[in-house]
């Protein structure tokens, strides 16, 4: 161990460590041996690297330590005046809704839950907690490779564990709405979500993040996804935090034999967002598709960093990232695909594209390949540029005004990501959000 790797206790790192030191005994599940051990390991992993700075390669383009305020207080659960903020978070048609307020389970609404789904409140962990929670909680998205994920486990105040029982299919979509109401000052929430889809089950998940208020806070989420054999998860994330928020989501997914994971990451809000996604294609035939859309106006920073582990033969991964960057915003797309020894016939592709709308916008990409097996097909592509002048000219020559022509081309650019993924209500909601962001991003650019 070199001197540099020893823990540095800067004020931002200290913020988390102090919180733990002061509140360890009151954290949910404190005293449960299995959880204490995992929390301890997670805290150690976090303490060892400290709050991420650009000195850590995986955080090269996102300096969380600089962006984070150092006087944040732990977020508090639901209060009566939060009702309005919750009412704003719309329910998708027919969806079962679970509402989290500042990371605490608040209510279960919408169409209500079916029998095929079990939900456990992580703020109420006890000796009676079911085995499946004990088995999985904190096994993923809590290591040194996902530093903030580790912090979210160590400092977990609440969250949910959801299980879809084996063989359950044709369920209504499940919507998890995370709402962060204003508290008048900067707060930090550390939330965990565990999702277990058992063998042969299938689920459509819609995860929304919304917030209010101008205070600069941190919403830190650690999410674990476990897919059993032949399980299918279609996951849509709509991140639309309030303007001052730092949104960090560490997602760890484990894919069993022949399981399928499709995810669409939509990044629109927040001052800074970082999605740190590790997908492990653990068993033969597993398949993961990651799509990402970021439409950034004003002065936002959106970072999507993925690690795709092809750990077994005949695994497939596809990644398609598109960013539209306006104003003084910055989009970061990083992804490492690792094909482990013996994972032959792995098939992987990454494509990153970014459109820069203005002279102050920036896009950074780092698509990485790390390959230790020879019989593989892996590739990646990146393109960063502006709207095609010829196409603009073509449209304008046909009498379409400049603004409209630009919007048309940007929409066409993004359509590939949404097409074939979202349908109906969800699709409309995505486009509505994209159009709002675009109008603002393009306005800022002109």
């Amino acid at each position: 161990m070199t001197v540099e790797a020893l823990p540095r206790v800067d004020p931002k790192t200290a913020l988390f460590r102090k919180d733990f030191a002061a509140n360890a005994a009151d954290l949910p599940g404190a005293g449960l041996g299995w959880l204490d051990a995992r929390r301890g390991a997670a805290l150690e992993a976090f303490a060892l690297s400290g709050m991420p700075t650009r000195r850590i390669e995986a955080w090269k383009y996102t300096d969380l330590a600089v962006a984070l305020e150092n006087d944040l207080e732990p977020a508090t659960p639901f209060r009566a005046e939060d009702a309005a903020a919750i009412a704003d978070s719309a329910v998708f048609a027919g969806a079962m809704q679970i509402v989290l307020v500042n990371g605490y389970l608040h209510s279960i609404g919408g169409a209500g839950l079916t029998d095929a789904i079990d939900v456990v409140d992580l703020a109420q962990l006890s000796v009676r907690t079911p085995d499946w929670v004990e088995k999985h909680l904190g096994a993923r998205a809590a290591g040194s490779d996902q530093i903030l994920g580790a912090a979210s486990l160590a400092l977990m105040r609440g969250g949910i564990a959801v299980r879809v029982r084996a063989g359950s299919v044709d369920l209504p979509p499940l919507q998890i709405s995370v709402v962060n109401p204003a508290r008048g000052h900067g707060v930090m929430s550390h939330t965990r979500v565990l999702l277990v889809i058992e063998d042969g089950a299938s689920l459509d998940l819609i995860e929304t993040h919304a917030g209010e208020g101008e205070a600069k806070g941190l919403a830190n989420l650690g999410m674990e996804i476990v897919l059993g054999e032949n399980a299918v998860l279609n996951h849509t994330r709509l991140q639309d935090e309030a303007g001052g928020t730092l949104h960090v989501a560490s997602i760890g997914a484990f894919l069993s034999r022949d399981s399928r994971y499709h995810v669409l990451l939509g990044n629109f809000g927040g001052r800074l967002s970082r999605v740190d996604m590790n997908v492990r294609l653990a068993e033969i035939g597993a398949e993961a598709h990651i799509r990402s859309i970021a439409v950034l106006d004003g002065e936002r920073h959106a970072d999507v960093t993925t690690v795709m582990d092809h750990a077994s033969p005949h695994t497939v991964s596809r990644q398609l990232f598109k960013s539209v960057v306006g104003g003084r915003s910055r989009s970061v797309s990083q992804g490492r695909v690792t094909v482990h020894k013996g994972a032959v016939r792995s098939d992987s592709h990454q494509m990153y594209k970014a459109l820069l709308l203005g002279p102050r916008a920036e896009a950074d990409a780092k698509p990485e390949l790390e390959i230790y097996a020879d019989d593989v097909v892996c590739g990646h592509g990146t393109a960063i540029g502006a709207l095609d002048d010829t196409a603009l000219f073509y449209l304008r020559a046909r009498g379409i005004p400049m603004e409209e022509a630009r919007a048309m081309l940007v929409r066409a650019f993004l359509e590939e990501v949404i097409d074939g993924f979202a349908e109906g209500d969800l699709r409309d909601a995505l486009w509505r959000r994209i159009d709002t962001a675009l109008a603002s991003a393009q306005g800022g650019a002109a």
Partner: protein, 484 residues
């Protein structure tokens, strides 16, 4: 014609896996082991350098003491003991400088014969001038007269420091400053010799310039320093080829190459690196930590790097271009082959600063045996670089299930009118292609060589003729025994 000799030499090459594994016994004039201010003074004194040069070196040395060895590259090697190596070695016969070929130590000439480049014949080789670096001191410079007539200065850098101090002072360290990185700083302190080229305004250098570097003495680090300046509207093509004798002890090599292209100038820099890669168990081999950087300082200038990296146990090398001048062009064509236990971490940086700057990167990585091969590259477009264009293509080929091929590109764009494109693929030699060749009676090794040469063609085409023939053979030799 001129190439018969090269071809013969290459046909010799294919006879054995590493022909250059011999040691010539020449009495060395060497610095005692270890690195201190005294070592730096010793080297400077040996070179009869002016005071300013010594100060420059000492400043670098002081800086180096505060620096740490970089660890970010994907290469693993035992810690280097910088005190257990000698930083200067010169063939003894250098005491009195030879007037012509006859005066040169016959043993030296013998070594070149083994290398297949006897100077006498080399002089005729397609008008190539050779500034041969035997260990650290240049022993002979040919075609000097012809170059002098054109006004081109081509000499050992130690000579340039004495005779053209105004040029050296102006440009040395202006592309790779003494503070740049651990290995470049070390080089700045202890560089022994290297080449210096100055092409004056409007001159097209009348011949390809070429230097053969060679590490000979046991446990002697080589610290070459090359400085090439192409003045306005000039052109120069520089070839660098390397071989080294077989050794068990790891040898350290930390070279620095600086290129400066002024308005309208063009520099083409080609390298074939075939140093001792270590044996099949990964024992021995050269550690190659090189800083190469070109500065397109002037408008409409162009710098083109072509490299064929087949040797060395460890390669750490990123020939880069700073595209400062408007409309300047940077190119990087690379073949990196790693076999057995070789580790290569190589790539480029293209820094777009000027308007309408263009860059192109073509990288072909081949891994076999237990080797690890990494492409690491940066394309950075600054807000001022309106209309900049980049296209990057990096392909990796894997031969066998024990090797690794990695791609680590960094792409940063801060200019909306710039267009940056990157594509990469990784695959193995196709069974169908191999089967096709085998069923037509082509032996396996030859078939692999054929397929790999096809995979590398785009880069091989960029090499000057003499090198292209040699490099093609080299590709085959480097991969011998890697399949089946």
């Amino acid at each position: 014609m001129a190439n018969t000799e090269t071809t013969e030499r290459v046909s010799d090459l294919s006879g054995e896996k590493y022909k250059y594994g011999f040691v010539t016994d020449i009495e060395m004039d060497r610095a005692p082991k270890g690195l201190s201010e005294d070592t730096v003074r010793f080297i400077s004194a040996k070179k009869t350098e002016p005071e300013w040069m010594l100060e420059w070196r000492l400043e670098a040395y002081q800086r180096w003491l505060e620096m740490r060895e970089p660890k970010w590259a994907r290469v693993h090697y035992p810690p280097i003991d910088y005190q257990n190596s000698s930083y200067y070695a010169a063939p003894k016969s250098q005491g009195e400088r030879p007037k012509n070929l006859e005066d040169i130590d016959p043993k030296l000439l013998e070594t070149y014969k083994k290398l297949g480049i006897p100077l006498s014949e080399q002089m005729m080789l397609a008008g190539v001038a050779v500034d041969a670096v035997f260990d650290s001191v240049s022993v002979a410079t040919t075609f000097k007269q012809k170059l002098t007539e054109a006004g081109v200065i081509f000499c050992p850098i130690s000579e340039a420091i004495r005779e053209h101090p105004e040029l050296v002072r102006k440009y040395l360290g202006s592309v790779v400053p003494t503070t740049d990185n651990f290995f470049a700083t070390l080089n700045s302190a202890v560089f022994s010799d290297g080449s210096f080229v100055y092409v004056p305004k409007g001159v097209r250098c009348p011949m390809e310039l070429s230097t053969y570097f060679r590490i000979n003495a046991s446990e002697t680090g080589q610290f070459e320093r090359t400085l090439i300046i192409a003045d306005e509207d000039s052109y120069v093509s520089y070839l660098e080829g390397c071989t080294a004798p077989k050794r068990d002890e790891n040898q350290l090599h930390a070279a620095v190459v600086e290129l400066i292209a002024l308005d309208g100038a063009e520099i083409k820099y080609s390298t074939v690196q075939n140093w001792y890669p270590g044996d099949e168990e990964g024992k021995g081999g050269i550690f190659n930590f090189v800083t190469k950087r070109g500065d397109c300082r002037g408008k409409n200038s162009k710098i083109s790097w072509t490299q064929v990296e087949t040797g060395s146990a460890i390669t750490w090398k990123y020939p880069s271009c700073i595209l400062r001048g408007d409309n300047s062009v940077g190119e990087f064509y690379s073949i990196a082959i790693a076999n057995n236990y070789q580790q290569a971490d190589t790539g480029t940086k293209m820094i777009h600063l000027g308007r309408n700057t263009r860059s192109r990167i073509v990288s072909k990585g081949i891994s076999a045996g237990h080797a690890e091969n990494t492409y690491r590259g940066l394309v950075s477009v600054h807000p001022r670089a309106e209309g900049a264009r980049n296209h990057t293509q990096c392909d990796s080929l894997l031969i066998g299930g024990e090797c690794g091929a990695h791609t680590v590109p960094y792409i940063e764009s801060r200019c909306p009118s710039a267009s940056v494109e990157h594509e990469a693929t990784t695959s193995k030699i196709s069974d169908e292609q191999l089967f096709y060749c085998l069923s037509r009676g082509i032996p396996q090794d030859e078939a692999v060589s054929l397929i790999v040469n096809g995979f590398c063609r785009e880069v091989l085409q960029q090499l000057p003729m003499e090198f292209a023939v040699e490099a093609q053979k080299l590709v085959g030799i480097s991969l011998e025994g890697s399949v089946g």
